[in-house]
């Protein structure tokens, strides 16, 4: 059954709703941001209309260059870690009894409802030397004395991973629960071990879902701006922290807008590369 192409105004009426909504809530604010990125800063009114490139020129300094590279590498690393952990978790989850799955999903949703601020606070507690996990390790005898693991890059990676994990599970869950159970069963019947089945059947079949989950966590992590300040040292502050700082505390809207746009372009480029690499592998087979 081929869909008939819609003709005339009547058939397109339904499109007005998303078009209008996206226009009002996405296109207009985005256009304003692009315009502001070329404006000049003004102490009194935040910015005044102009066409200057100085906001962009300021980005090409070692300080901001380093921050760009760090933010993108950090988000990519966390994205990779989260998907590596969340994928087997979700796969095992979909193999449980239906009722147990529902409990797990409700629990995952409750973790999802924690805000960045709360996640930052709890992990700085859990990784602290006074009330943290290291006290448990001392009690068991693995450590001589409690250690403070925060602020550090590791703490930041842990916090960001915790933030991204429930999203990733919820993105992977629909695809994995629709996976035909006959595929792993066939693999098992032909004599493959469960691990071999997982790596050689489940992962290749789910490749496009894995790539979209990777991209989603990556983009999601780029936006985190509380966790780097709570769990990281100043040198671990990501671009989102700097954007917030410029926009709210330095009230330099044009520069903040320029940073946001460059960050978006860079991350879109990385997403494109990921998609091309993922697609290239599929055409090989």
């Amino acid at each position: 059954m081929t869909p008939q192409t819609p003709r005339g105004f009547r058939d397109h009426v339904a499109l007005l709703y998303p078009a209008l909504m996206l226009g009002v809530f996405f296109v207009v604010p985005f256009a304003i941001m692009i315009a502001v990125s070329f404006f000049k800063r003004n102490e009194l009114t935040f910015y005044e209309p102009a066409f200057v490139l100085s906001n962009y020129a300021r980005l090409f300094t070692p300080f901001f260059g380093k921050s760009f590279v760090f933010s993108i590498l950090l988000s990519a690393l966390v994205g990779l870690l989260v998907v590596i952990v969340a994928f087997p978790f979700t796969y095992l989850l979909t193999r449980l009894r239906r009722r147990t799955q529902v409990y797990y999903l409700v629990f995952i949703l409750s973790v999802l409802s924690l805000s960045e601020v709360i996640i930052g606070f709890t992990w700085s507690t859990l990784l602290s030397s006074t009330a943290g996990v290291s006290n448990l390790l001392v009690f068991v005898g693995l450590l001589d004395q409690p250690r403070a693991w925060t602020p550090s890059l590791t703490a930041l990676v842990v916090g960001l991973s915790y933030l991204g994990f429930p999203y990733t599970v919820l993105v992977l869950y629909p695809a994995l629960s629709r996976l035909d159970p006959e595929l792993p069963e066939a693999s098992r019947m032909l004599g493959a071990s469960p691990l071999r089945t997982f790596f050689l059947v489940v992962i290749p079949v789910m490749r496009s879902s894995i790539i979209s989950a990777l991209i989603m966590v990556f983009v999601f992590n780029l936006g985190a701006y509380v966790l780097p300040q709570v769990l990281g040292r100043p040198e671990h502050w990501t671009l989102s922290v700097l954007i917030t700082d410029q926009a709210i505390f330095q009230s330099n809207m044009p520069f903040a807008a320029a940073m946001a746009i460059v960050l978006m372009i860079l991350s879109l480029m990385l997403v494109a590369v990921t998609l091309v690499l993922g697609g290239a592998r599929s055409s090989e087979r």
């Binding site: 059954m1 008939q4 709703y17 996206l22 629990f107 996640i119 992990w123 859990l126």
Partner: protein, 126 residues
């Protein structure tokens, strides 16, 4: 063997996921007005304040209202946009898709009815 490992993995993940929730639950019982963990003194006063003070009740109501409105808006927009793509991932209008679906549904319904009729005949024949 593999089963044990996967249970161990799921258990460990649950433990990691639940740890921050336990910390938050513990802190909420603090008697002091500070973010202290483990809690100093036990009291339910913060829960009482949350439910009785108009400021906090107002904030709870606002959170719920905003969450509901934004969920309805976001899902309705995303849903209509998602309908713009055919199963072959070609851009198509929502109308064409709905039309196609209804035709397909009708065909499926007719097919199921025919199947039921045939099945009803089988035991009689056999």
């Amino acid at each position: 063997m593999t089963r044990t490992w996967s249970n161990l993995f799921m258990g460990l993940m649950l433990l990691i996921l639940v740890a921050p929730l336990l910390v938050i639950a513990g802190v909420s019982l603090n008697a002091e007005k500070q973010l202290l963990f483990p809690p100093v003194g036990l009291s339910l006063q913060w829960y009482g304040e949350l439910l009785t003070q108009p400021d906090w009740r107002n904030a709870i109501a606002n959170s719920l209202i905003i969450a509901i409105i934004s969920a309805v808006l976001a899902v309705s927009i995303a849903f209509t946009v998602a309908m713009l793509f055919t199963p072959e991932r070609k851009v198509d209008a929502i109308v064409a898709l709905i039309r196609d679906e209804t035709v397909r549904f009708n065909e499926e319904r007719a097919l199921k009815k025919r199947l039921a009729e045939l099945e009803a005949r089988v035991p009689a024949a056999g």
